[in-house]
Subunit: 429 residues, 2 copies
């Protein structure tokens, strides 16, 4: 590998890992960034791929391209299968062993079904491009099935969607599904009135957007209901099968599609690390973001449990991840210049969540507001955070177009077979 000096291994090319790598561009180190995917994924817009507004490549930038001019950086496509803190090596795909002087763990989270892995087949999560394309196929296929259903009951079921979990992703998905049904597809079908499609948003907590201030939750709920989303808070899911969900209250919701936005857990990598962890598997790091007793190992992004000055957790969103990645990188650079470590200080930029078309809730600098202005802010922030110049232009274009025409440009079912029409239920006409 190119470069000289200490070897920094970064595991994960998300916001934390990528910004750590960039921050080390001028440091006298050689660094290796390892990711299971070849692309940095702009997670905040992934739901737009799942709802056919954007194409997969719009929200993904090849990590190699992002770092192509950073000569001290090597990108490896592969999975880190274990970490040997004693020998200071990571194991790649169960074979190759990569030694490190510094290790930055930024592997992020994965969808978690709280021990009910059987639900995975019926209620896909939304963490990767492949997830998003799969969800897009399933959403569009539900309408296709309904168009061919002969019994009203089947049709009603296929036009009913359940989104489990009312965090930002769940709220965004639920709003977008109603928008697709009521507007995008309105004139495309002959046998069904797509506008009649029902969208249920089920949340175990007492309110939508649990991580947000209560006023924002109220505004989001009001807007969701205006869009026609049925919001069920304080309801736990007891079971999920191919035909819907059963809630702990005993209520059964027959649905053509169930989407899972309820839970994530940290990469299995960190679970075997010694040291304290939170219930959801995040690592309690030292104030410089290093692993207790391992100053050469940093844990950042969604893997790290870090408190804000006000005692709350740093929210698991892009700004926190970017700041942590940069801080870990700075600590490494400071070590090399024999400067003392400094504690990580989270600068809270605010909170943003969009609810359907042209409505969002925002909290910036303590001030809260919602509606169109918040949505414009949301568009601005998200588009201009997109990694890479090109993405910005295309995404802006696709959005402008979709917004003006109510169309969604990415309405392609890639694998209809994998989400087959239930031919068993079709009969002679």
């Amino acid at each position: 590998m190119a470069g000289a000096g200490k070897h920094v291994v970064i595991v994960g090319g998300g916001f934390a890992g990528l910004y750590a790598a960039r921050r080390l561009a001028r440091a006298p180190v050689r660094l290796t960034l390892i990711d299971r995917q070849n692309h940095h994924l702009f997670q905040p817009l992934l739901y737009q791929v799942a709802t056919a507004a954007l194409s997969a490549p719009d929200v993904a930038a090849p990590i190699r391209r992002v770092l192509r001019r950073q000569r001290n950086a090597t990108v490896l496509l592969g999975e880190v299968t274990s970490i040997d803190l004693e020998r200071r090596t990571v194991e790649l795909d169960g074979a190759e062993r990569v030694p490190y002087d510094y290790l930055v763990l930024a592997a992020g989270t994965e969808t978690c079904y709280f021990g009910n892995d059987g639900w995975r087949a019926h209620a896909p999560g939304l963490k990767s491009i492949d997830d998003a394309v799969d969800v897009r196929d399933r959403v569009l296929m539900a309408f296709e099935r309904a168009e061919r259903d002969s019994s009203p009951a089947d049709r009603a079921r296929d036009l009913r969607f359940v989104v489990v979990g009312a965090g930002p992703t769940g709220v965004e998905l639920a709003g977008a599904l109603r928008e697709i049904a009521a507007r995008t597809l309105a004139s495309d079908f002959r046998n069904i009135a797509t506008g009649a499609a029902e969208v249920f948003l089920v949340e175990a907590g007492e309110r939508v957007l649990p991580g947000f201030p209560e006023a924002m939750s109220r505004q989001a709920k009001r807007e969701l209901e205006r869009l026609g989303v049925v919001v069920r808070t304080g309801e736990r899911v007891q079971d999920i099968d191919g035909d819907g969900v059963r809630l702990e209250s005993g209520e059964r919701i027959e649905a053509g599609l169930v989407l899972w936005a309820a839970g994530v857990t940290t990469s299995s990598l960190v679970r075997d690390l010694d040291g304290e962890q939170t219930r959801d598997g995040r690592v309690l790091v030292r104030d410089d973001l290093s692993l207790p007793g391992r100053p050469e190992v940093f844990v950042v992004g969604d893997l790290a449990a870090v408190r804000r000055p006000n005692g709350e957790w740093v929210p698991g969103m892009a700004p926190g991840a970017i700041q942590m990645g940069r801080h870990a990188a700075r600590m490494i650079a400071d070590d090399l210049r024999e400067k003392p470590r400094t504690p990580f200080r989270y600068r809270h930029r605010g909170l943003l969540a969009t609810v359907g078309r042209s409505h969002a809730v925002a909290e910036v600098g303590g001030r809260q507001f919602s509606g169109f202005a918040a949505w414009l802010l949301w568009v601005f922030v998200h588009v201009f955070w997109l990694v890479g110049f090109r993405e910005r232009l295309v995404v802006l274009f696709e959005w402008a177009w979709a917004w003006l025409t109510w169309q969604r440009s990415a309405r392609v079912i890639v694998r209809p077979s994998s989400t087959r029409l239930r031919t068993a239920r079709s009969v002679d006409s």
Copy 2:
């Protein structure tokens, strides 16, 4: 279903089927268009998805959207599994039966391995969006494997591509692969010189672009070789496995990826139809494009074997398919007005094939030319034939961008697992 009068069933939403449906917009019929996919695929640009220049949705338009305002048209997503010419019904997904008064068969062709279906797993074809995304994954993964290969032999193998079949698709793929290797990825890798990637184009016939005039074949071959493609004509493939191909000459080419552009066969649907067929399964239709003895059944597009006035076959490209689809539709409309059938007349628009970046070969109105002017014509023709206004803008934008920057915007590996790195071959570093 909406509409009144005779029921026209169109099987296939490609160029022939879609243009047949549009031509019947004002006819006093109700029509049902059935396709296995929810989208019309702009086949001529599919190789651009496979080579990461365009995203899948750029070259696909939802059939429902294209026909949304045509009130006499119903679109069904499903597979026609058999045809009952006596009872005048088509069978949908082995279950539902759809009766017709007129049937337009436009189901097109599928990839054919000439009885060696075992090759399918090692040498994907390029007929669907799913194919293209799979090929894109495999192409990008070949470079990723090479970057991690420790032995020079493995690296050389993973950087060697074989394209089987030198029709327009094979020629376009081979050229684009060299372009990706030599330019797009040039500065992205650290352990390999992507420019050293070898691309073999193997053709059983005596020349590339066999369907084209000889002068055009010569120009295409010259340009391919200028791009660094190794052209092997008059060479049959004897066997294909996971590590490369063996030619009948005995030569073995070890390759990281083999792509199949060598053969297509007509949809199995028409194979059981009575009446004469060509060796590749195309149906010899009457001069009005109807099935002999079945005036209510039309066979159009790649399914039909039709001769030009000069005795040659109508080439299996978009213009012929569109003209046939329109003619079949006109025959149906004429029947309803009790006008006599008229023979199909193919108006030859010319031949076009692009070879890598900014070079193409063209034959228009008997005149042949090649180079940049031909490429501009190719861009113009293809972009402005794209179904739907939006697609045009995005594709133009993506092309302009890719052309100016040598970048390819769709470099996303959707399913790295499905095309896994051969970890068996990686060793301790």
